[in-house]
Symmetry: C2
Subunit: 202 residues, 2 copies
């Protein structure tokens, strides 16, 4: 799970993988200055932008999954809140200026050390266009979601739950972990939602 | 906001702070191999463990805020979900084996590059004791929360909202950012909740 590092960012000496005193798991530790280089999961923040029954999707202009469809989302940056990050990414990738209306989901993806936080949002004023990381951006009916051309399992799972909620007239917040389906090849990217926690929003 | 690094963890050369091509903000970039060293906010995961109207709090045995009271919480580790991390921290710090019952809050703290995710939980079987990072652990009535001896503003804010919900008989999920109060000295740690997003759980 650790991302390989070779040198200490503090003193430039080589690092070892070992369990630091008082801890219970392996970390990269400097062989000279003893600094422990912690690694933690990264948050990805994004939106489901809703407009007159439709929602906003983007086709990726970058790797990984170039050409596949996704929701506007990207890495949470230092100095911003997750809501501010979700709004920023929606502007950068989809050229849309939006306001957050509700939390939608927190999905952990333990096997890749990421977690996705999605918010529901609406346009401040209707408008969108492909940013530099998108080939195309469009508003679509839920019935027209390109299920076979989605970029990531976490996006498919978010959209499946969103469509399910819409059909049921429900307004839910979803928690859970996106995990590799037992028996599935990890190369297939075939994941399912475990530790599922659905809470109805009043 | 960036945490200072001096050497490239990939090749050991020195790093510069600059805006990489195609990006919009400063990063540490290696002067030799050009690797960009991204830094992102870290998640802290914790619980509000409820038992017969009481809740579980811990007195810190470690810096920062040694001797002050907090909720069981700690850094989200690679390879686990936030729920699994919150359960792990509750076991490590409070010796309690718990099950998550509901999401309670997602609080960003942009000025320190952290976000806290709290879940509500119950004991699998009643039992708790101080782990190595705690001086003392106890179940208390909400009326007995030691407001003046709490370790962190984010914990105070979580507990204030929890007590408010309890009084109103409400079951809410809370979002927002813990930000330095305008005019307050940052040294005082005097923060408030902005971008507040309260959603009633059904």
């Amino acid at each position: 799970m650790l991302v390989a590092i070779k040198f200490c960012s503090n003193c430039g000496a080589s690092v070892d993988v070992r369990i630091p005193p008082g801890e219970d798991r392996e970390r990269f530790v400097c062989t000279a200055c003893q600094m422990v280089h912690y690694q933690n999961p990264k948050l990805v923040v994004g939106t489901i932008v809703e407009h007159e029954g439709q929602l906003l999707i983007c086709r990726r202009a970058i790797a990984p999954r170039h050409g596949y469809w996704t929701l506007p989302a990207g890495f949470h940056e230092l100095g911003e809140s997750t809501m501010a990050g979700a709004i920023r990414e929606t502007h950068e990738e989809a050229g849309a200026v939006v306001t957050i209306t509700a939390p939608f989901a927190h999905f952990d993806i333990p096997h890749i050390g990421q977690a996705y936080v999605f918010y529901r949002a609406v346009f401040d004023s209707l408008g969108y266009h492909a940013g530099p990381e998108s080939l195309e951006v469009k508003l679509i009916d839920p019935a027209d979601i390109p299920w076979k051309e989605l970029a990531f399992d976490v996006v498919r799972i978010a959209l499946e739950l969103y469509v399910e909620d819409r059909k049921a007239g429900a307004n839910n917040f979803h928690g859970g972990s996106v995990t590799v389906k037992p028996g599935a090849s990890r190369d297939l990217g075939y994941c399912e939602l475990s530790e599922r926690l659905t809470v109805k929003l009043g």
